[in-house]
Amino acid sequence: MGLTPVFSQNESLKDFTQTIEGSKLEIEMVAIPSGRFNMGSPASEEHRNSDEGPVHEVSLNSFWISKYEITWELYNLFVNRAIDGNNDPNIATDVNIDIDAISGATIPYVDMSLGMGTSEGLPVGNVTQYAASQFCKWLSAKTGHFYRLPTEAEWEYCARAGTSTAYHFGDDPNDLNDYAWSYGNSEDTYHQVGQKKPNPWGLYDMYGNVAEWTLDQYVPNIYKSRKGTTVSPFEIANKTYPRSVRGGSYNDDPEYLRSAVRLGSNENWKMRDPQFPKSKWWNTDAPFVGFRIVRDPNVPKESKINNYWGQ
């Protein structure tokens, strides 16, 4: 792999649309400026959990994040691998990976939408964090850009979008209906992405619909160890459980959709996988967890890049 940074942090990023050679599907990517924000929630926040504090300052470089959660249609491009041979003559060179060297997700025995559907615009669910990361790696190989999951800090920075209240629209969960699918309005299922209002940075469904994988190992008390301003925090995952999930889902009550809420994955999310050993690609009991993707203009050194894609 030849990996070289192609943007300096001073250059401001612009929104763009990622095309995928061999497919008519596109991914809209929103440019997120570098900046600082207060991560976590104050002790006074209603329903606040101890893992949300203390509030501490975090500084981040700029990056792009997908405007919407990744859909089944997009994810299935990776599962089916039918377009691997369609090569874009204008492929970028931020990363250069042999697409055939990326292992493919298995075809699952059951419908992994568990009856909630995989039609146009429906968010993918039941993928493991590993599988979501391999989708990013595959997309990187297809496009030549460095795609990965957001870190927990990047996710919260995007969810807050410059705000410091429990939700980006304030503290009153009654307003959530305008922005999110949660248990109260979802009728027990996820919905097409982008049906509700976006947040101040133009991102849809940051709260609810499907909860979203981040890159980090879930470490409940990690905020306590952060002093001063923490630069680009990322807890590299070294064990399968728990990994950090953000944003809450269609199946959660409003208090779980706050910007600061953190959730660790657990083994029960594969509870009903009847096979043994269980699939590393699919959860069978977490249709409420999907993901969105980040494009990072700063490509890490080759020796570090698998921290972002998993081994």
Binding site: N76, N80, T106, I107, Y109, V110, D111, S113, L114, G115, M116, G117, T118, S119, P173, N174, L176, N177, S182, Y183, G184, N185, E187, D188, T189, D253, P254, N268, M271, R272, D273, P274, Q275, F276, P277, P287
Partner: protein
């Protein structure tokens, strides 16, 4: 799909949350008595139970894993599979999982490989797991019950009517011998289904008059032919695509949803008619099964159930069950949704599946608790009749005729040979073009 009337504006903070907390308690309570009882009786009945697994694929290994976790005093002593590599992998994975315990104790001499390996493994055990491809099941079940063993067997329990008759006969013998038989139709052990079954019993939905049951998905794995394989080995490895081994996907997967219809209506259908075929999955790698079936099942009470199953990528997918009753409608899906909407469109009941136990584990917890309690679980008759329902559906789509339960069950058509060795010619062989004969509606005779 949800009706628009169904989309009520519910304040997320009030009624529904309070309501759900109540239903969650109901769910938790439902399984408690069984577990408490097993803990109590374990003190009294401390015999070490010996377990054998027959069929060491992913599911057989998964079932063994769950069985070993269901009881403290249990030991896996024997394994059987047609293929050495499959058995070895399975044992390795189980040894890893139970490292540091004495639960996996399979000596080299008790690893039985081959087509009649099941007998020796069953002989060694108190409890056996039957998880080979479905075609073999009636023969394995017959042997296990005659040998006096408790059984966990996977669904479907047969692929043809002679097989069903054998299972029904042995189900009676099992009852007489007070042997426990649990069938892997795990919805019977899943709290959201049990909650709805209770509601039906209470009369909340009235009489069920119609329903739709679905297993529409993208399909399953294909295992390509490998050099040096005999035709028999190829078919055994790629068993999903051959009727004598699998029974078609209307049995192998859709049986779950068809069984829920039988369970909730409380009857087995008197006839079936439908259509089906192969449209997407038509290659040499795809054996002889259809990729879609649509069947109407008519029940003695007059209820008609529309059953659809499809294995076609990029089409509408749904796995679940809907039923319409004289007082309300039931809607369920695999993600755990289970609700009842009244005739006025108002939601009467909604089950929220938080922290429910794993039904695959519950199957085994209940099996072993029942053994310890000297109780008898008898799933085999329903397992056989629900399998028969799916077979009748397949007979309807393959033939294009109306098939009655009576004719279907009396059918002498034997898909699975009673004797099979590595030298046997499989019941279905490819033509010179590499393609297998495919059932043709209007032409194919399914009954004899």
């Amino acid at each position: 799909m949800k009706s628009s009337k169904n989309k009520t504006d519910v304040n997320p903070n009030t009624s529904r949350r309070g309501f759900c907390k109540n239903t969650a308690l109901v769910g938790a309570g439902m399984l408690l008595p069984g577990l408490e009882m097993s803990a109590m009786v374990n003190v009294l009945n401390n015999k070490k139970l010996k377990l054998a697994v027959v069929g060491c694929g992913g599911r057989g290994t998964g079932a063994a894993n769950q069985a070993l976790k269901a009881d403290e005093n249990i030991e896996l002593v024997a394994m059987a599979d047609a293929f050495q590599d499959q058995l070895d992998n399975s044992l390795m994975n189980l040894q890893k999982e139970f490292e540091g315990t004495k639960k996996v104790n399979v000596k080299d001499a008790h690893k039985y490989v081959g087509l009649d390996a099941y007998k020796k493994a069953i002989d060694m055990a108190d409890v056996v797991i039957l998880a080979t491809t479905p075609g073999f099941r009636p023969y394995h079940f017959e042997y296990a019950i005659n040998a006096g063993k408790h059984v966990f067997m996977e669904k479907p329990v047969a692929v043809d009517a002679p097989g069903i008759r054998k299972v029904l006969e042995m189900a009676k013998v099992a009852k007489e011998k007070k042997l426990n038989v649990v069938v892997g139709l795990q919805r019977h052990y899943q709290n959201n289904y049990l909650a709805i079954a209770d509601k039906i019993k209470e009369g909340s939905v009235g009489k069920i008059v119609s329903g739709q049951v679905y297993w529409n998905s993208a399909g399953v794995w294909v295992r390509p032919r490998k050099e040096g394989q005999t035709e028999l080995e190829y078919q055994m490895r790629n068993w999903y695509y051959f009727n004598w081994l699998c029974g078609d996907h209307i049995l192998e997967q859709h049986i779950h949803n068809i069984d829920v219809a039988n369970w909730f209506i409380g009857e087995y259908p008197i006839s079936a008619q439908g259509m089906g075929g192969r449209q997407i999955r038509t290659g040499k790698d795809h054996g002889e099964i259809f990729d879609h079936h649509f069947v109407e099942f008519t029940y003695p009470s007059g209820a008609v159930i529309a059953s659809q199953c499809r294995h076609q990528p990029d089409t509408w997918s749904k796995v679940g069950e809907n039923f319409q009753g004289t007082k309300g409608s039931i809607e369920m899906n695999d993600a755990g949704a289970a609700s009842i909407v009244g005739l006025d469109g108002e939601k009467m009941f909604d089950y929220r599946n938080r922290n429910d136990p794993n039904p695959y584990q519950v199957e085994h917890d209940r099996l072993f608790a029942s053994i310890r309690n000297n109780e008898v679980i008898s799933d085999a008759e329903n397992g056989a009749k629900s399998t028969m329902t799916a077979i009748m559906g397949r007979m309807a789509t393959y033939s294009g005729k109306v098939i009655t339960w009576e004719d279907a069950l009396a059918s002498t058509k034997l898909l699975m040979p009673s004797e099979i060795t590595w030298e046997s010619t499989p019941p279905s062989v490819p033509g010179p073009d590499g393609l297998y004969p495919i059932p043709t509606p209007g032409v194919t005779d399914v009954l004899s």
